[in-house]
């Protein structure tokens, strides 16, 4: 009777807590997200950034090739002519307006592939969720990288 009790009740408890005890000292798999971030893969494609040359000039020349390559048609580019007084990019033209609809975008990276100057790149900032639909139209000011000193 008591042997049966030991086998049926005590042994499973010991086995169960044994597993718990062993797992306690293993490496934790959970990434404590808001405090720590998991390492993103090298080719992760998330938020777009419009980059600059080291001189501070914009790389984007307003050619709209990204908009043409976009399968979701989420990019709008409006080009304007550079003048000697107001020079934004090294080429003839620059993007006067550059807008991306982040809700339409599927982050395929075709815009990055199509860009002849490497102006638009997709980086690893994934925290894009928001409350209002209007907040997802990312304008050129939001996308453009700040000038490095």
């Amino acid at each position: 009777m008591s042997f049966q009790l030991l086998k049926d009740v005590v042994q499973p408890i010991v086995t169960g807590f044994g597993i718990t005890g062993r797992r306690t000292f293993r490496k934790k798999v959970t990434v404590q997200y808001p405090e720590e971030r998991r390492e993103q893969f090298a080719r992760t494609r998330w938020r777009h950034v419009l980059t600059r040359y080291d001189s501070g000039l914009e790389r984007c020349i307003g050619c709209s090739l990204c908009a043409g390559a976009c399968p979701a048609r989420c990019i709008y580019v409006e080009a304007a002519e550079n003048t000697d007084q107001d020079r934004r990019s090294p080429g003839e033209r620059y993007a006067n307006r550059y807008e991306i609809n982040m809700l339409r975008c599927i982050f395929c990276g075709y815009c990055q592939e199509a860009c002849p100057t490497g102006a638009i790149v997709l980086r690893s900032d994934f925290e894009l969720a928001n409350y209002e639909r209007e907040d997802f139209i990312f304008t050129k000011e939001m996308l453009l990288e700040p000038i490095r000193d």
């Binding site: 959970t30 404590q32 979701a72 809700l103 982050f107 969720a129 639909r133």
Partner: protein
């Protein structure tokens, strides 16, 4: 913010009372509702036990499932209990493209959820139609149900969905616990204190 005076509580000034409006006085004007609201207990409780509805429509559902896995562990925010019935769910994650055939089903399931309820539109397709700009897909789930948080991405990674959950929690905490308009309660005739 001082609330409407409902009860007068007499107590000695040595006992600190949460929600004190007068400092060190003998008479403290307070009421239980404002106490709880100032503590933000109820909204916190609401925000930290959001039970999602299992509503995967496409590939986004795979990432939604991965969010509950041990690596990301949505249960850290109290949302691990995915419910297959709308009657037990608080938040609906629309994960995937909503076809026009699915739209009435989506609306019906949303209506069956008990209030207060929230909606996360996960991914490009649910939020705006994404690449599927065609006759079959609803161009944004907000044409069918009111959406609280949109998550861009195709599909959003589990981290991105968790960020959306954090955003939703912030939204709930900022809401008034009793404001029926904010909570989209169906009750339209608000009762005054006198009738109660």
């Amino acid at each position: 913010m001082p609330k409407r005076v409902e009860t007068l509580v007499l107590h000695d000034s040595a006992t600190p009372v949460l929600g004190d409006i007068q400092k060190g006085g003998s008479v403290v004007v307070t009421n239980s509702k404002s106490l709880l609201e100032q503590l933000n207990v109820l909204n916190g409780a609401r925000a930290h036990c959001l039970w999602p509805l299992t509503f995967g429509l496409a590939c986004c559902a795979i990432e939604m499932m991965a969010t509950v896995s041990s690596r990301f562990d949505l249960s850290r925010f109290g949302s691990e209990a995915f419910r297959a019935t709308p009657r037990q769910a608080d938040v609906m994650i629309i994960a995937g493209r909503v076809s026009k055939k699915m739209a009435p089903v989506l609306r019906q399931i949303y209506d069956q959820m008990p209030e207060p309820k929230w909606v996360i539109s996960m991914g490009a397709c649910a939020s705006s139609g994404g690449v599927y700009n065609n006759y079959a897909i609803v161009q944004g789930a907000d044409q069918v149900v009111p959406v609280d948080v949109y998550v861009p991405g195709c599909p959003p990674s589990p981290d991105a969905l968790m960020y959306a959950f954090l955003k939703l929690q912030n939204k709930i905490k900022a809401q008034s616990f009793t404001d029926k308009h904010q909570l989209r309660m169906s009750e339209t005739k608000a009762r005054t204190l006198e009738t109660v």
